[in-house]
Symmetry: C2
Subunit: 254 residues, 2 copies
């Protein structure tokens, strides 16, 4: 396990547009601060800029709500067009009440509003919605490959989203996409300090990396959607972040 | 928000016993690595060593299971004496099935086995159980006060526990106790980059600090139950970690 981590924001990432080159922005931002990426660094990227560069913006004026969307909009008080997008991005609605719409998003994530965001979106905050990437693991892999090609550094990439949680107040970041680091550290079979075999310890490395990075990433006026986590020494296998999603049949809380 | 965090484990913390002086171990460990605490550092301490020094160990041979404990032991396959302790430490049982017993622990935490741990406990791993601290916020405050008195440093303290989560695979650390840093960063009323007022963003700083620290803290053979998170610049108000517990009446997932 790691002994010392350094976690720092990458400055100067501009407002991104569809088709923009995130890897270029990251490498430029690092160069401007006199940093270069090293093998083993983990580049944590906010879902918002990944979604934007992938063109996952939808103009609400183009969305016609279904009957079901109108019904849920009535229950939740949300814009029926946003609810329609949430339904299109979801496998199932889990909870709906005033101001709350929690779903199983297409990827299997249990998340409010299918991860759809209306803040920090260009083009008039009330007119556009930003969907999650279609395949955040693929987004992470692509960014990792591009960074390797341009910088030579063999980095890990985490696509992070800040989400609400069962049982807890306040958002915390999760890894919704992952490449080049093992998202889940399976310690089952290891022994503890007294020689007792650990039976159930699997540690969510990627979620905790996302959470660490989130402490230096801006939510509101400070636009720092990228952070580097340096010094992680956990395994570097290549499983996707979807291994962090508890399968429905193993989930007692939905 | 912070720009750069340093997260490092404090080496050389010995096996602790009831009454041991955690602050002393931390200051000695830091001195041995040539570090001193600075104002604003957050000292993250694993719940296990807090509980042990507070004498929260129970010999299972002293526990007589109730009828209800036997019943739940039958359902879960767990030791009826451990189940009895779980019941004593809980307000309500939320889920019980094979290998799983999720409760509302006395503090209000939704947590498996009321946070009771049988691994890494001295005196024969099968004979002892370790309960959560009675008041982890008070534990954090006391440690903060002692560290201030001995070192002069005005630090924050987080008592961290690794827990399973709804919807996600793998454990992640939470703050069950907190002093000297604001556990929850309320951004409601702030404006985003486009001038839109944020309506719902409250960020769980303390949980994410615990998660960051957990990346350098050992679970199994590597005994590093203390880490320092340096560089956090979020507010330093004095609310307890209990503000991170979602009140039952606001919780749709239990």
């Amino acid at each position: 396990m790691s002994v010392r981590l350094s976690v720092f924001a990458v400055p100067g990432i501009p407002m991104v547009k569809p088709g923009d080159d995130i890897a270029g922005f990251i490498l430029d931002g690092l160069a401007a601060m006199g940093e270069t990426l090293a093998d083993g660094d983990v580049v944590v990227v906010a879902q918002k800029i990944v979604s934007k560069t992938e063109g996952r913006l939808v103009a609400l004026s183009t969305v016609t709500p279904s009957e079901r969307a109108h019904e849920l909009a009535g229950i939740t008080g949300k814009d029926p067009r946003v609810v329609e997008l949430v339904l299109r991005e979801s496998n199932a609605v889990l909870r709906a009440k005033t101001n709350v719409l929690v779903v199983e998003q297409k990827l299997g994530l249990v998340i409010a509003n299918a991860g759809i965001d209306r803040s920090n979106v260009e083009g008039g905050a009330d007119d556009m919605a930003l969907l999650l990437p279609v395949d955040p693991d693929a987004s992470a892999r692509a960014l990792r490959t591009t960074i390797k090609a341009r910088s030579g550094a063999d980095v890990g990439v985490v696509v992070a989203d800040s989400v609400g949680r069962a049982w807890r107040i306040g958002t915390s970041a999760l890894a919704i996409g992952c490449a080049g680091l093992e998202p889940l550290w399976d310690q089952r079979g290891d022994v503890d300090m007294f020689g007792k075999v650990l039976e159930v310890t699997e540690v969510s490395i990627a979620d905790q990396v996302a959470a660490a990075a989130n402490l230096v990433m801006g939510e509101a006026t400070e636009a720092t959607p990228v952070a580097i986590v340096r010094g992680l020494t956990t395994p570097r296998n290549e499983r996707p972040a979807t291994v962090l999603i508890r399968p429905k049949e193993m989930d007692m809380f939905r």
